[in-house]
């Protein structure tokens, strides 16, 4: 992979990893102060991950909040087969995947309210090229399936390996490759205007 995307994880620090194991053991036994340490330490990276997956800050904050609360409830059963960071990454990713799935219209005949016009139509002078490009990207991402979008985001924006993504999402590595490929195909096609 060329380039080095900024991964949504805390610094790779041996001391912090050891401390995470201790704090996870304590939190699993009901020590909420230890859990607070973990939440403070991992929230920023997980928020970045969720925002990348969902493209919406409020939804990202809600997803991360729900994921941590769910983790607190499941901690007594956590056996430490993976690190707390990896475990949380998985919970947040799958939470976001569900949010993306719920976004898709359940029935095509639902009455939908009129959406406001995109900002770059209503305020042409103040729009930077970057913002317009971001808008285009969001629109293009919205055309991907939740699964394609998730796999592509973890691969391209979060720089994860296909094997890691396969484990996180719970599908085969081959399926991850196919989804990332289809997402790229669609995005290069849709964003052809950027050329």
């Amino acid at each position: 992979m060329t380039g080095s995307p900024a991964r949504s994880e805390p610094p790779d620090d041996e001391a912090l990893r050891v401390d995470d194991v201790l704090m996870t053991e304590r939190a699993a036994e009901g020590d909420e102060d230890a859990f607070a340490v973990l939440v403070r330490r991992h929230a920023p990276a997980l928020l970045r991950l969720a925002a990348r997956l969902l493209g919406n800050r409020t939804e990202a904050e809600d997803a991360v909040q729900d994921a941590f609360v769910s983790a607190w409830r499941r901690l007594p059963e956590f056996r430490g087969g993976s690190s707390f960071a990896t475990w949380m990454y998985r919970i947040v990713t799958n939470r976001c995947l569900n949010v993306l799935r719920a976004r898709r219209p359940q029935a095509p005949l639902n009455d939908l309210p009129d959406l406001p016009a995109p900002a770059h139509v209503t305020a042409p002078d103040r729009i930077t090229e970057g913002r317009a490009a971001l808008h285009d990207l969001r629109e293009a991402l919205a055309t991907l399936s939740p699964e394609q979008r998730t796999c592509w985001t973890l691969r391209t924006l979060d720089g994860r390996s296909y094997a890691f993504i396969a484990k996180t999402v719970g599908i085969s590595e081959q399926a991850v490759r196919a989804r990332v490929f289809r997402a790229r195909r669609r995005l290069t096609h849709t964003l052809g205007a950027w050329q």
Binding site: Q65, W72, G130
Partner: protein, 200 residues
């Protein structure tokens, strides 16, 4: 790299370029930094790679914009901990002092005091601390990490046991039976967490 796309087209969304190569294959080669003479010179493969490179570099540039990276993490932390504090797991009640006194302390509160006592031994960090009430006493199973440089691990474990016993006796009035201290790891350096912990 394993599980690379096949040579022949299996995905209906894939495309066979006019040169005969599969688009999925060309992109996988680019991603895995596999170079061959064909791709470097092919009039079909090169634009296909350029398309993908352009996409990847543009989305990363957008991703790195400050508006994309600033979050109110503190408010998320607060909201999480507000919910957690409504769903505390204090553990079992443990007997304090003599049976006749009918006093109890919750397992989690006692464990917190005992972990702290263990950590008074220089360089020691405490993890799991399980307390099991017996007929007249409470048994402790405590796991600790000691510094890699510890010259005498057994002495450290004994010192931990002594401090735990003392704290249980003097600070809690908890009558301990067996104190099982497990040194689960020897670690290179102490983790910088104390200030973090006390502020919450």
């Amino acid at each position: 790299m394993n599980n690379r796309p096949p040579e022949t087209r299996t995905d209906p969304d894939d495309e066979t370029l006019p040169c005969g190569r599969l688009l999925s294959r060309v992109w996988a080669d680019w991603e895995d930094a596999v170079h061959d003479d064909h791709t470097a010179q092919c009039a079909h493969c090169r634009p296909a790679v350029a398309d993908l490179e352009r996409l990847e570099s543009r989305v990363r540039a957008l991703d790195a914009e400050p508006a994309q990276t600033s979050f109110d993490a503190a408010s998320v932390v607060d909201r999480v901990m507000d919910t957690v504090r409504l769903e505390l797991r204090p553990g079992r009640p443990l007997p304090l002092g003599d049976a006749a006194e009918d006093l109890r302390i919750m397992e989690n509160a006692a464990a917190r005091v005992l972990r702290r006592a263990a950590e008074e031994v220089p360089g020691v960090r405490a993890g799991s601390c399980r307390l099991t009430p017996g007929a007249t006493t409470v048994e402790v199973a405590l796991s600790v990490r000691a510094p890699l440089t510890t010259p005498d691990v057994r002495a450290v474990a004994q010192e931990v046991r002594r401090r735990v016993h003392e704290a249980a006796d003097r600070r809690l009035g908890l009558r301990l039976g067996a104190i099982d201290v497990r040194v689960t790891d020897l670690v290179a350096e102490a983790a910088p967490h104390r200030e973090e912990e006390s502020s919450g």
